[in-house]
Symmetry: C3
């Protein structure tokens, strides 16, 4: 059994994909688990977690640009905080991700990086990590 690990993440912009691959890998390595799964969970409602390309930075730029066209910031919402777009984007991208662990390492594809996706920053955020052996 491993303990839950919580990462602190500072986002720097209103919309941002922050690469947290190195931090997640380090947390998994510290558990010493050789085989199992790693579960990531975001305890917020306007930020999420996803995986995407970590090579060309324009992928991240295009991702944020396009999701803002799909779910515009101003679009007849009623929520008094004015950030309803962020709530919907976060649910579309998702609050949990499960990644496999083999031989002590996260099984990620060649171009995959793990991103905290901020949709209403900048803010101080958290991401919980739980590793299950098996």
């Amino acid at each position: 059994m491993t303990k839950m690990i919580t990462l602190g993440i500072s986002t720097d912009a209103h919309s941002q994909m922050k690469d947290i691959t190195a931090e997640v890998k380090r947390a998994v390595a510290e558990t010493g688990v050789e085989n199992g799964v790693c579960i990531l969970f975001v305890p917020h409602t306007t930020g999420a977690v996803t995986i995407n390309e970590n090579a060309d930075p324009d992928v991240v730029r295009d991702f944020l640009y396009e999701i803002d066209k799909v779910v515009p910031w101003n679009d007849g919402y009623r929520h008094y905080e004015g950030n309803s777009a962020a709530h919907l984007k976060a649910s579309m991208i998702g609050f949990s991700e499960t990644i496999l662990i083999e031989n002590g390492k996260l099984v990620l594809g060649t171009w995959q990086g793990i991103y905290f996706t901020e949709f209403d920053g900048p803010r101080r955020r958290k991401l919980h990590i739980k590793v299950l052996a098996g």
Copy 2:
């Protein structure tokens, strides 16, 4: 090892986010598991499960309003049942969610509630819950 638990959920409208946080918490407590993960799974194709703010009801209103603008109910679909929008919305929001358990409690953020998202109701729905200790 814990048994799978199945919740019955009655949705009341064509589109709805039904707060099931209390029911999920109760199911997790009944397993007696102190540390591990809780997996939620929706066995349907036009309903899904997500997490979002449980404070201002306008967040839910805006969520349903905006996702209906993103994926309109009528948009040149061919499926004879006429509910293709519901199928796509459900895949966007997702059929499974994994939430951590620490000290016998679900680890949810301050503003997070768990929602069954109905996109073609009203209907009788199910949601499966599995708790893994670890």
Copy 3:
């Protein structure tokens, strides 16, 4: 403890939902696990995994048609490979899915099939499967 299983998947079109339900069921059966969970993980950034109706093929047609309207292939992107739409679609649909196992069988709803969703094919793809007993 079970070993990770990797499926090879050949997609046949630029956008495609490829039904992999039978392959996933076979892999789960081979582990011999009676109760637990099955985690699916896609190690790519322009393909994803979801669940949807496996009865009327028009559901799949409408899904691909509509998600292409929501996130158009050409829309002012900068990424030099020209496939930014595929990256965003993949994050919207998601890279991991968790399905329950009871009595040696995947717990899927009556109309649910498991799909590899290709958004920039045709390509040779992989999907990892991990079964956890519990």
